[in-house]
Symmetry: C2
Subunit: 303 residues, 2 copies
């Protein structure tokens, strides 16, 4: 089952060097989620062949422009290309006021239903739960109210041991049950346990998005053990004072968070415009946490 | 003296085929004006090497997203790169409310002074006047209040007849006066008339921006005789009914406006996303008004 993230933007506040402000598409089993929506996200979606109408949920971390200024344009374009299906939007409460004001003055009445869910910047909350996925928002520490998001896959089904199934000529009607743990009794009365007929279910995967934030202990528990952690790394550690003042993290700090929270892999991003070459940020993070990669626009990363 | 316009965006509502929403830079004697500011204008400025801090005035025609959604990002980036000089912004009155709301929630306090001038969508008005330039806004006819803009160069100075000046060994202190029309009396008492020492001043130039609008008689008088007219041409004339419904113009209608108003040159733009190839729009307009060009992103057009 697909679970991967496409980077549409990896730049901090000022877009530069063809780097765009924050936006990502999470593909979970062919359902598309948009995480943050910086200016020009709709152009980036077009560039990378993502059909905006396949996006069902949008998550906005906070109201700094580089994380949401592409939203009105995207929502308007969805309307213009005839979207009819509901769209769920999660973000800081005032986002609704900002959208409604702009739709009012542009005389826009969306063809589709936009369902707004305000996030809570004060405490961790489950904001979406299906049989297959749970999404949480949790507080980050930034200049203005800001949340991270954690996406947890539900329990995964075991996969069949095809060889064993074929050898016993098990009718297909039983297979779904066997995958879910049911034993199988053959016409001769022999009982075969589910474990004998399947491979163990792979463990459930999780993706965490942390942008923008100072590195603080508060969110370590909620991001713990994630398979993939996207954590902002705006500066090199030589600018840690500047990072502190602006409520951002350095690459070293992002890596320390990843190590402490025992995540499997770290993805850096939200790079300051002062860095044309990003290698020093990667090197710095890797000195603390080896399993680190740079988020690069247009690249998909497996969760 | 430079007077030319750079196209940053020529697309109508939905950006596509690497075409961006409306934005233009007018360079008048190395003073830069921005006309409309669709999403990703700041990226387009960067792409074409325009320093945003050289922009002194911004003119917004109306509050459809494809004409102003790049504004908050651009104003914020100007702040982040340390702009100190005043910036004048002209646009529909509610634009101020929209900006202030977004600056409030992003906790942005601009380093520089943003001076807002609401435009009047009901009648033609001079909105800026210097010795060298006059700018007018005037009503267009669109779904929501919308204005066009006309930029008129002031009276141009005559150019010196260098040969005559050198022959008479006229001291340089007199030259500025001679260009402005003063006669020159030689040490021997001979009077030389300004006309003998100069070439006639070239006539003053004018640029007009009309996007978005139905073609109506109301604005013909104000755009009359312009050297360069940018007029939206969202559709081919076979979609004139759709143009009528959406308060837009066809290429044929834009050309008819240009012809009736006796402008010198027409620039088409604001192309619908349905046209990948723009040649049919150009051909259609040229069938009525020969001096027509397509506005193409990244191209400068002389006024």
């Amino acid at each position: 089952m697909k679970f991967e993230v496409l980077i549409l933007g990896n730049s901090s506040a000022t877009p530069i060097y063809e780097r765009h402000p924050s936006a990502q598409v999470l593909n979970f089993n062919e359902q598309l989620f948009l995480i943050d929506c910086g200016e020009a996200t709709q152009m980036q979606l077009f560039r990378y062949g993502i059909k905006s109408n396949k996006i069902t949920h949008i998550f906005i971390s906070h109201l700094h422009g580089d994380h949401y200024l592409g939203l009105v344009g995207l929502l308007s374009s969805m309307h213009l290309v005839g979207r009819k299906s509901d769209l769920h939007l999660y973000g800081p409460a005032p986002l609704e006021e900002i959208l409604l004001l702009q739709f009012h003055y542009s005389d826009t009445n969306l063809n589709y239903k936009l369902i707004f869910h305000p996030t809570n910047p004060e405490k961790e909350e489950v904001i979406l739960k299906t049989a297959m996925l749970t999404v949480r928002s949790f507080p980050l520490t930034h200049r203005i109210p800001c949340t991270g998001f954690r996406f947890d896959e539900g329990k995964r089904a075991a996969t069949l041991n095809i060889e064993a199934v074929e050898k016993l000529k098990i009718p297909s009607v039983f297979l779904s049950g066997i995958k879910k743990g049911a034993d199988y009794t053959s016409p001769e009365g022999t009982i075969y346990r589910s474990e004998e007929l399947t491979y163990k279910a792979p463990s459930s995967r999780s993706y965490v998005y942390c942008s923008d934030t100072k590195p603080v202990d508060d969110y370590l528990e909620v991001i713990k053990g994630a398979d993939l952690l996207y954590h902002e790394s705006t500066f090199l550690h030589e600018l840690s004072e500047r990072a502190q003042q602006t409520f951002h993290s350095t690459a070293l700090e992002a890596a320390t968070v990843a190590k402490t929270a025992q995540v499997k892999k770290l993805l850096l991003g939200h790079y300051s415009a002062r860095y044309k070459d990003l290698t020093p940020l990667l090197d710095e993070a890797k000195s603390v946490f080896e399993h680190t990669e740079l988020s690069i626009e247009g690249n998909w990363f497996l969760v």
